[in-house]
Amino acid sequence: MRRFLQRHMSQIALSPSLALIAIFLYGFIAYTAAVSTTNSKAFPRFDNFVGLEQYWRLLHTPRWHVAFTNMFLFGGLFLLVTISLGLVIAILIDQRIRAESFFRSIVMYPMAMSFVVTGIIWQWLLNPTLGIEVMVHQLGFTSFRLDWLTNPDTVIWALVVAAFWQGCGLVMALFLAGLRGIDEDIWKAAAIDGIPAWRVYVFIVIPMLAPVFLTVVVLLALSIVRSFDLVVALTNGGPGVSSDLPSVFMFDMAFRRTNLGLSAASAVVMLGTVLAILIPYLYAETRERA
């Protein structure tokens, strides 16, 4: 008996975790998928199967369209801004500057904060009667407008700038690590040939960072699908529902509108979006290794 325990201690130690994950992750995903095929309202019920009707209804819910489109709009802008500026800042910090760790820390500290805190900070800065807009007016530029939070057409930029402020540090750090990993000889050779630094970056160094780009895109894309706290704290989906995201829609349907069936369908679509990002990535990764 002792020998058996010794030999299988590894499996025994893992089994509670495995059981918990089997139930709370895989079991619950199946549960939510099942709920999405029912007409559940406030409580999950399985005696009212409606097939794919909830997905059909989701497709015809204007608010879901706004939320789903916003995910791509916000996601696209956030990716573009964060990757390009994150790379530029990493390159600036990589120039053998003085006080490098000081600059690195300043770019990275927002990572430590919650999205609720970030949302509140930017809500304050973008406040049209007390924030940056008034500050610029007092400098004499009285025609300056910064109405992102109150204008449904531009509110997405408020989310982008706040998410960038919080997320840039990680992207910068990943790019900086990539830049540090590049062979010094490339720079020496380029210097001997008299190639200007910007051309070395554009034509040699940045293409060599392709794997870092891939990692960054996947990491950011996963965080975009899950974005929830930032929207709740910064805009609460408003004005109206103009800055809604799928996660906010899902939460509202589940906990406030008591429409669990529709909420479950939206959660399954979110999971599907993650899989659509992840499966090609994992496929590429494993093929690379093989």
Binding site: S10, A13, L14, T32, Q95, M108, V117, W124, C168, F251
Partner: protein, 302 residues
């Protein structure tokens, strides 16, 4: 790494065109860096300075100015008097909730992750790779897809709206990330050490506590920081499964700032925001380099 200015030939004429160009480039570089630093540091400065201002001063404008008559009243109000929902006892109770929730959840989930990682990395068995993949896949799942069944389960267990319920949920959904972190680290612990100990008759837990853990203080610190930050900052689970008496800081802060009742006391809001951010910010300042390692490993979790 490039050096845009590594060749600075000294000549008798002190500013050759080439040297002037180098100095200009260098100056422009620092100019850009200062703008970048201002963008990231500015909001924290504004947050802090506003939290020490009086409301009349805030309404008179001057976002960037230092407080004329600094006051700590907003801090006192935020900590002990501000109204959140229907109770007016400030944030102190919620700060306590967050601590009581975060500390046990962090310790338990790190311990579980360490044992899992050790088992997977050092005592492999047929199917261990599959088990690892099944556990780690949890890092990618958007938790929205489990919210409703978790709520049902917590109600059934009588834990809905309690701090214990939140601890349970954070421990369970912390398993994927802590397991991944420790497993990847323990792979680098030499197998010969384990083999030698096994020949001497040492068992699974003896080797874990006497050999493997003492070799890995850094990964333990990384895991503790990562989990502390993640659980302290969590909003989704907190807002879904807590009630007004068990709500952690993130929920209380959001309720305080984004409630539509009463006059908005911005100075109190800013003080409250600093209080909510302080624990993780202090961790970052003290242990920044571990922080980054945790974030890059944990970034998948978001």
């Amino acid at each position: 790494m490039p050096a845009l200015t590594n060749a600075l030939p000294r000549r008798s004429g002190w500013l050759t065109p080439r040297r002037r160009k180098a100095i200009l480039t260098r100056g422009f570089l620092y100019f850009l860096l200062v703008i970048v630093a201002a963008f990231f540091a500015g909001p924290l400065y504004i947050l802090l300075s506003t939290s020490f201002k009086t409301m009349p001063e805030i309404q008179s404008g001057g976002l960037m100015t230092l407080p004329h008559e600094p006051t700590v009243q907003p801090w006192i109000t935020a900590w002990g008097e501000a109204c959140i929902g229907i109770t007016c006892g400030g944030l102190k109770g919620y700060f306590g909730n967050s601590m009581v929730m975060t500390i046990p959840a962090v310790l338990i989930s790190v311990m579980i992750g360490a044992i899992n990682g050790y088992a997977l990395a050092k005592w492999p068995f047929p199917g261990a790779r599959f088990v690892f993949a099944a556990l780690v896949a949890g890092n990618f799942v958007p938790f929205q897809v489990v919210l409703a069944p978790v709520a049902v389960t917590l109600r059934t267990l009588g834990l809905f709206g309690s701090v214990e319920g939140l601890i349970l949920i954070h421990v369970i959904y912390g398993i994927p990330i802590t397991t991944m972190l420790f497993r990847n680290f323990f792979l680098s612990v030499p197998n010969d050490l384990i083999k030698a100990a096994r020949i001497d008759g040492a068992g699974f837990f003896w080797i874990f506590f006497r050999i493997v853990l003492p070799l890995s203080p850094s990964v333990i610190v990384v895991a503790l920081i990562l989990q502390f930050t993640g659980i302290w900052n969590d909003f989704l689970f907190a807002v879904s499964f807590s009630n007004p008496s068990s709500a952690p800081m993130t929920v209380a802060l959001n309720n305080l700032v984004n409630s539509n009742f009463g006059v908005k006391e911005y100075n109190v809001h800013m003080a409250a925001t600093v209080i909510a951010a302080a624990p993780t910010l202090i961790l970052y300042i003290l242990l920044g380099r571990y922080f980054l390692r945790g974030m890059t490993a944990g970034a998948v979790k978001g």
